[in-house]
Symmetry: C2
Subunit: 159 residues, 2 copies
DNA sequence: TGCAACATGTAGCTCAGGCTACATCATCCG
DNA sequence: CGGATGATGTAGCCTGAGCTACATGTTGCA
């Protein structure tokens, strides 16, 4: 239990351990993604509700997102501050231009992740559930890779 | 802008929109996974540091996790409350039995996710970064599917 | 041996995202 | 046409996770 102090830094680079900096920046990236996650899920849900029923109301969002209506109202207020939605007291919620773009991108990414999981053999229900978390951590490069993979699959006459 | 009230519920089930309940439970699952995420990443990092340098100190963890040492100290205190680590003031941090099991499971899952991404053609660096977020949202079923896929790949004499 | 340098700890703040309990608003329908 | 009912909003609470600034411990080495 002696104290190696900065000796440790030197010892660390002998193994096959990832460099601290590499891991740190991956974790920072993950935290950034989490910060956008709520906005992405709300935008997607608002777009779906609007398409399906003509409008998105706080109560419907609460049911669909699995949170209380209070949480929805507070979160929607933040999304409005950030320019993603507009809403007036006692009225429904609408996506702005920016919000619509976010919703569309999120929907596409969501679907692609689900398709990818299914293509690998993950059962439908599990794919739906896992995708809801995974989608927010798929970089554009990985997304492009998924797309290539799926196209190749589709084009290849599989036995 | 009339008010359909519960009329909406009926209208919703006409489209191909996911049922609200299904999406709600997927999102609840994702939130549960986020609640374990910090513990998993810390356990993994503590195990790595211990293996590489013989001990895990708060400062090293802070560097590796990309947060301040204060955050590490507070989080480690919580992990101790939850029985994952032991630590004494001004001393290094050790995993308990339970913590060791969590670290090992997390490590395996992390590696499998990276391998899966690489197998699909995602560049190494991107795979490392994306995996850091994705790993926490991969269910046991999906993990098993990944494993089968990778074994099949390895066993198949690819051209 | 003593102290400078580094590690660890504490105080106190911010923000996101949950919640319950209660208050107010809007509207459908009897 | 006036409630009852359901939707929306407010007050006030909690926890996790981050931070800076400052205080205190530890120890290697001059
Ligand atoms: Mn999601
Ligand atoms: Mn989604
Ligand atoms: Mn996540
Ligand atoms: Mn991770």
């Amino acid at each position: 239990m002696s104290r190696p102090a900065q000796r440790a830094k030197t010892a660390a680079r002998s193994g096959k351990t990832r460099p601290a900096e590499v891991q740190a920046s991956a974790l920072r990236q993950t935290r950034r993604e989490h910060a956008n996650e709520t906005a992405e899920d709300y935008a997607e849900a608002i777009a779906e509700l609007t398409a399906a029923t003509g409008e998105a109301r706080a109560t419907d969002l609460a049911r669909r997102l699995g949170v209380s209506h209070v949480t929805v109202i507070r979160t929607v207020a933040r999304l409005q501050r950030n320019g993603l939605v507009t809403t007036r007291p006692y009225r429904s919620i609408f996506l702005t231009e920016k919000g619509t773009r976010l919703a569309e991108a999120s929907r596409q990414r969501h679907e692609l992740v689900v398709e990818m999981l299914r293509a690998l053999g993950v059962p439908e229900a599990v794919a739906q559930s896992d995708a809801e978390g995974i989608e927010h951590h798929v970089s554009p490069e990985t997304l492009a890779t998924f797309q290539r993979f799926l196209h190749r699959q589709a084009g290849t006459p599989q036995k």
